[in-house]
Amino acid sequence: MSAIDTQPQTPVVVDNYLNHTKGVLSWALTLDHKRIGVMYTISVLLSFFLGGMFALLVRTELIAPGEGFLTQDQYNQAFSLHGAIMVFLVIIPSVPAALGNFIMPIMLGAKDVAFPRLNLFSYYLWVFGAIFFVVAMFTGSLDTGWTFYTPYSIDTDSAMSGVIPALTGAFILGFSSIFTGMNFIVTIHRLRPPGMTWFRMPLFLWAIYATALIQVLATPVLGITLLLLIMERAFGIGIFNPALGGDPVLYQHFFWFYSHPAVYIMILPGMGIISELIAVHSHKHICGYKFIAFSSVAIAIFGFLVWGHHMFVSGQSPLLNAIFSAITFSVSIPSAVKMFNWLATLYKGSISLNTPMLYALSFMFIFAIGGLTGLHLGTLATDVHLHDTYFVVAHFHYVMMGSALIAMIGGLHHWWPKITGKMYNENLGRLGCILVFVGFNTTFLPQFVLGSQGMPRRYHDYSNFLPEQVELYATYHMWSSIGSYIMAVGFFLTAGYLIHSLFAGRRAPANPWGGRSLEWQCASPPPYDNFAVTPSVGDCYDFSVLEWDEKEQGYRINEEARRKQAYPGEVADRSGAEKLDGD
């Protein structure tokens, strides 16, 4: 059957990517982007669990002042591993490598990514890097924080022996990220089917494209930074080590040249997911498509110019501080543009308050706070006070965890029927989302006040301060820890019903939400080769061609309406695609 977008799908798909071939090896050696995406998703979620456990250790230690159940060194390891695992193993690969791998080629209408072997290789690099992290965790551990600031990280006496394994792991993970990014850029440039012009791409693809640009251009610098640091630690090359004449501030330039753009590797795909979610679940054309698309690219490019705002009090010269502060504010504009465009999309929509949409709305709430508090930190005068306090901790959790990961989980729910072919329990889904949302804000809102009141980050114990300060900090820390438990309950609930749905979930229709982009035009789960026939492409946010099918409990395309709405490029037109190639 080549009836991809013309006929309602029968929900029973005999041959899909899950059962196309059988056996462990058929998964381990698969070149299918969907299977690789699924393997990434599972791996990333397992790492998320691991990183989350470390977070709970940290929060439990801080619930009250005084020596808790962790020693100073154990606490330092806990937050270092929490940070390193969450950044390198979870958030960076979460959307691009996990969801992106599954969704991106289907959304684009391609059969696979451009380099399937490289894709599998990236995954195994990820696994390999993760193994190094586990080694770092169990042998000697890691206590440098995820930033590996010199000279502490090269100080052989204090920094533990897990540093080199962790650096090696991060180095390898960097290459995994680079290859994924390369693969995606080439896929988007070269594998777009006829009719899929740049401005017909769903915004998720724009976001993935912008992300991939950063991955390719920034991650190599992380590679060389880590390599230099490994050499510094192993041989003493002296470039970053002041005891040998080196310059620790230079290390920070190196580190943040990657790690600031990396923040956008984390948040941009999340924003892309939200653009999809908001439009699909309000059944309304996204507002200001081009503004959103270009704002993704603008964020990617501006993101390279602002790394110095992590170093306002690090000994960076005042001249550079001023320059970096000024450029930093330029990043806030595209973010604001996206925010307002999402709001405008909601206007007069038909807003379904289902789980993915609740995550999307949570994202908007959380990202508004995360973005606006970024203004405090980009401003020179206030950053001097707020830097390295819990204000920063709260801010980047609002952006990296509350926004990037919430978007990832929203996206996971959105595409769950497509990936697994099963529907999860909607009510439990909503409950899970609300628990996560409440827990998240209970955890991190108090941390803003903690930070502005002077509580420094990475403190194992806060009983050394003046008594009235300790009292104040204790209250907020307690709330923060309680919030983290609520959030943990929410995540466990989510994991529970998602796993349950695999076995007992209702069979998913091809298009449960009424999405218009191409992935909703193939069956759930998708067949092995995505599309038997290269699909034809319309406006991916034009929902007017969809209609509700009561029998399927899903949406289907109304052929008549589609013909009426047909665009010039709707018909397969190879030469048109070449011309609109854009490069």
């Binding site: 060194d73 501030v249 507002c287 007069k348 401003t379 006040v449 980050r457 990475r458």
Partner: protein, 367 residues
């Protein structure tokens, strides 16, 4: 003075606000203005965005399986509006933030200078204008610009005084500085804000903002600390207040550094076994009428004139401490060296008797 004016305006001791600790420096006032300016602007936009979002959520919630809502897909003037308004806003924020920062980076000429050393995991403050005395606490005069010139002995640290709203990383291999003008006498937290290893969270101390007279008294007290101390406390005082200046070269556990370890030093000196670069041994040089009257005299002179006799196999890189240590301080070090095995274990932990804190020194006491 502006600070006096401001104090009059409030006419009471400043209180901690919901967001911020008390304002105890001139800069704190400016910084808080910027902070609240951004905060209220943020609150406005947050309420606007989330308010609209919740209103839409409720007003336009889905009531049927309608597949599509026909509506405008873009509106360029509107989109330009919400691009340009934030742009103007952030330019304003940058301006106020920059203005405050420029002041923060320009210490006034003639500011009272305090040298700060960060080391794992302790701050130490020395006062060059007061004979270079050192202490674990920071004492500053009120209403007078103070400049901290900071260095690190090991890794990155960061000097953070929340009530003054100042922070600056302390970078090994170079000097960094910051300045403030305290306006409120009192005792406040001083924090290390840059992660520095195991004891990072214990690297806190206090700053005492004192009136001009109290400040001078305090300085004098620290200056005469050794003179006032009873003899039996001297080794402890040498270990507590002076050893930090020797530790980079002289270990306590017997391992060789730039200079000889202090462990075992006295045994060797007592027996006169020390050999110098010119081949002479200490026993040849000690005695009435010779170079050193007694072994103790050798230690004493080694601190004052370290280049006189250099031990074999050492580079002899010790600087002179003449003029930097008082007689009684040198005595204290000699006392410490003589009884080192009884006072300090190989880990560098004090195991000898700890003197009672003097009764009048309540404000400076740590516990």
């Amino acid at each position: 003075m502006i600070s006096a004016l401001a104090t009059n305006m409030f006419a009471q001791a400043p209180q901690r606000s919901f967001w911020m600790p008390i304002e105890a420096s001139k800069f704190a006032r400016e910084m808080d203005f910027v902070f609240y300016f951004i905060t209220w602007l943020s609150v406005f936009f947050f309420v606007l965005i989330v308010g609209i979002m919740i209103f839409f959520m409720v007003r336009y919630r889905r009531r049927s399986h309608i597949a599509n809502v026909p509506c405008f897909t873009h509106n360029t003037p509107l989109e330009l509006t919400w691009t340009i308004i934030p742009l103007i806003m952030v330019i304003a924020i940058f301006y106020v933030g920059m203005k405050g920062y420029v002041k923060l980076r320009q210490p006034p000429i003639g500011a009272y200078t305090v040298n700060v050393t960060g080391a794992k995991w302790q701050w130490s403050f020395s006062y060059p204008d007061n004979e270079g005395i050192t202490d674990d606490f920071l004492y500053v005069p009120v209403d007078r610009p103070v400049r901290l010139v900071m260095k690190s002995d090991d890794v990155l640290h960061s000097m953070f005084i929340p009530v003054f709203r100042v922070k600056q990383d302390v970078v090994p291999g170079r000097y960094t500085d910051l300045w403030f003008e305290a306006t409120e006498p009192g005792e406040y937290d001083v924090i290390c804000a840059e992660y520095c290893g195991t004891g990072h969270s214990t690297m806190t101390t206090r700053v005492f903002v004192l009136s001009e007279e109290d400040f001078e008294l305090k300085m004098a007290e620290i200056r005469l600390r050794f003179e006032k101390a009873p003899d039996q406390d001297l080794p402890w005082m040498a270990f507590t207040y002076l050893y930090s200046r020797c530790m980079s070269c002289h270990s306590l556990d017997g391992t060789d550094g730039i200079g000889p370890s202090w462990r075992g030093l006295w045994d060797r000196t007592k027996k006169g076994e020390t050999v110098f670069t010119d081949g002479s041994t200490l026993s040849e040089l000690t005695g009435a009428g010779k170079m050193f009257a007694t072994p103790e005299d050798y230690l004493y002179r080694s601190i004052l004139y370290p280049q006189e006799k250099i031990r074999e196999n050492y580079p002899g890189s010790m600087p002179t401490f003449k003029g930097l240590l008082r007689e009684r301080q040198i005595d204290a070090i000699v006392h410490l060296l003589k009884g080192l095995d009884d006072y300090v274990d190989a880990n560098g932990t004090w195991i000898g008797p700890v003197p009672e804190p003097p009764a009048e020194n309540t404000d400076g006491a740590k516990e």
